[in-house]
């Protein structure tokens, strides 16, 4: 009842304040090197953004582990595939990495390679939840993918998570199973403790006992009767401890220990290195909120390639004159992570097979600043990283890593 009142009050206040939700979870507090040079997510897709309580949805996508991995981040030797949500507002049903079950962690993912994840999730707490895929790396913590708002409708109390054990027991709800048993034991122990404490607290306590003890009359404070009571209580305790243990062992004979251990999974097949990108110079115009790159692109494949997209830290700069690049944008992708004016290129014609061309690339948007991705002035390691997506006329996509040192500059004053 109280809980309902609190929730009601919270909803009212939120409504009156008319607050628009910005991106959540504090991922913007993560340093640029953690977000632009480690895990690059792409093709992230939410199968639904409106679900009911107990309704399933899927979160799929791929990621590339960048080769220019920063010193400050532990290499991906132990990795867990996860999702980030504001508390357990969703339930995890199944997760996969390259088709392998991902309930446990993975050992030694390879840098420079791609992986594909799939998560089956279920709505649990009604409301609007900001959900990200995330790759946790031991020693460095969670590196997050693009977040999307998922609206969960329905009643909180109607959520249940039934599961069947290997012993054949059908459990109604994982949230409550075994709880009454555990709480019952705790109450039993508290009852014994309360009896013992009240046996002593009912007597004169601090000052009288201390005074009596000062006079050497310990015999008044601890009587034979008290010692006897102590022996009886210890017998009760021992019976409860070992009797309880024997009973629990008899009741649950097929228990298993907690399961741990790392799995190993092969990366996706490497895509042929059709495009080679060399960054000649890179600058970030601080007041202009603009990243300018001079690149040398070599097409080593057999098809002409057009630059379609620059993506880093889940922010996407698209070449808006290339339809195939625009078609690659999933409708469920968060709009505030797609730069409005897109990518500006010095030459927009396809790069022919065998050709090496210098292309100047300009990505301008306030999002650099708002996502806090450009604190190059305060970083010890002023580098950037990202993926360049190129497309052949037949729609084939080539994903190339790019990155290198970057220099912050100020617009020349006239």
């Amino acid at each position: 009842m109280l809980l309902k009142l609190i929730k009601f009050a919270a909803v009212c206040v939120a409504f009156i304040a008319g607050v628009s939700h910005a991106a959540a979870h504090g991922e913007r507090a993560q340093e640029p090197y953690l977000r632009t040079r480690t895990v690059q997510f792409y093709d992230v897709h939410f199968s639904k953004t409106e679900v009911k309580v107990n309704e399933r949805f899927e979160l799929t996508g791929k990621f590339r582990l960048m080769q220019d991995w920063p010193d400050a981040v532990t290499p991906p030797d132990i990795v867990f595939v996860s999702s980030i949500s504001p508390g357990p507002t969703i339930a995890r049903i199944e997760t996969y990495l390259n088709g392998w079950p991902a309930r446990q962690s993975f050992a030694r993912l390879e840098l420079g390679r791609d992986y594909e994840f799939r998560m089956v999730l279920e709505g649990r707490t009604p409301g609007s939840s900001h959900i990200h895929p995330s790759i946790s790396i031991k020693g460095s913590g969670p590196l997050v993918g693009p977040g999307q708002w998922v609206n969960i409708s329905g009643e909180a109390h109607s959520f249940a998570f039934p599961i069947k054990t290997m012993t054949g027991l059908q459990i109604e709800d994982l949230q409550t199973f075994g709880l009454a048993h555990a709480v019952g034991w705790h109450l039993a122990w508290l009852a014994v403790a309360a009896a013992w404490l009240s046996f002593w607290l009912a007597r004169p306590l601090i000052l009288p006992r201390w005074l009596v003890l000062q006079k050497g009359r310990e015999d008044l404070l601890i009587s034979l009767r008290d010692t006897g009571a102590g022996i009886i209580v210890s017998a009760i305790v021992l019976v409860m401890v070992f009797g309880g243990y024997v009973r629990a062992s008899a009741e649950y004979p097929y228990n298993v220990p907690l399961q741990s251990g790392l799995n190993r999974v092969a990366p996706l097949p490497a895509s042929p290195a059709y495009a080679e990108i060399k960054v000649i110079s890179a600058t970030y115009d601080v007041p202009g909120r603009s990243m300018r790159l001079a690149t040398q692109i070599t097409n080593k494949g057999s098809e002409p390639l057009s630059i379609g997209e620059l993506t880093t830290a889940n922010i996407r700069f698209l070449n808006q004159s290339l339809p195939v690049a625009m078609a690659n944008v999933d409708p469920s992708y968060p709009r505030d992570l797609i730069a409005r004016t897109g990518l500006k290129l010095s030459s927009d014609t396809p790069i022919n097979p065998g050709e090496t061309r210098e292309v100047r690339v300009e990505a301008t948007d306030a999002v650099w600043e708002l996502e806090r991705l450009v604190s190059f002035l305060t970083d010890v390691d002023s580098k950037f990283g990202g993926l360049l997506l190129l497309y052949a006329p037949n729609g084939e996509r080539v994903i190339a890593e790019m990155g290198g040192p970057i220099v912050p500059v100020f617009t020349e004053l006239k």
């Binding site: 806090r372 100020f410 617009t411």
Partner: protein, 165 residues
Amino acid sequence: MEADQCKLKVDSYFMHFTGYQPQSSRAEFCEDIPEVGRTIIVLDFVDQSLRDIPVSVNLARDDGARTGDTMNTPSSILYIPPKKYPNGTIKIDVNFEQAGRYIGMVAIENGERNVAKFPFDVGRGWSLIRLLAWCLVLVSAAIGTFLWALRRNAIAQNLPAASEK
């Protein structure tokens, strides 16, 4: 954006204010600008929807009398007429020739006209003086209290001595 106190609110939209004086330092300023001279002020739109709304900017000397007109007036030193900014960022290049108090006004035209004002100081180094003044007040208050307590204490100690005689 590091220590984010520099937010402006226009209607229900938020913008973020940053000042740069690249000729003298690489620092970012929030509101108050330490020196006169060439300055770049950047306003970043926090809310995506601001990018579809025409925004005008007016920087003027704060002469005390004006009530906040966003039109180009004689006291204006810079005026940018309403315009959309799809990149979500406004870069203002301005030269402050005199030290003093200025007022910035940002107006958005989403059906009706909404104005946000942000007063700021240029070339005053004002905050350091204010800090020192506060320190001085606190220290003198502490010393005063201590002396006063000492004196009271001395009186109290003398009293029983006097009554004993």
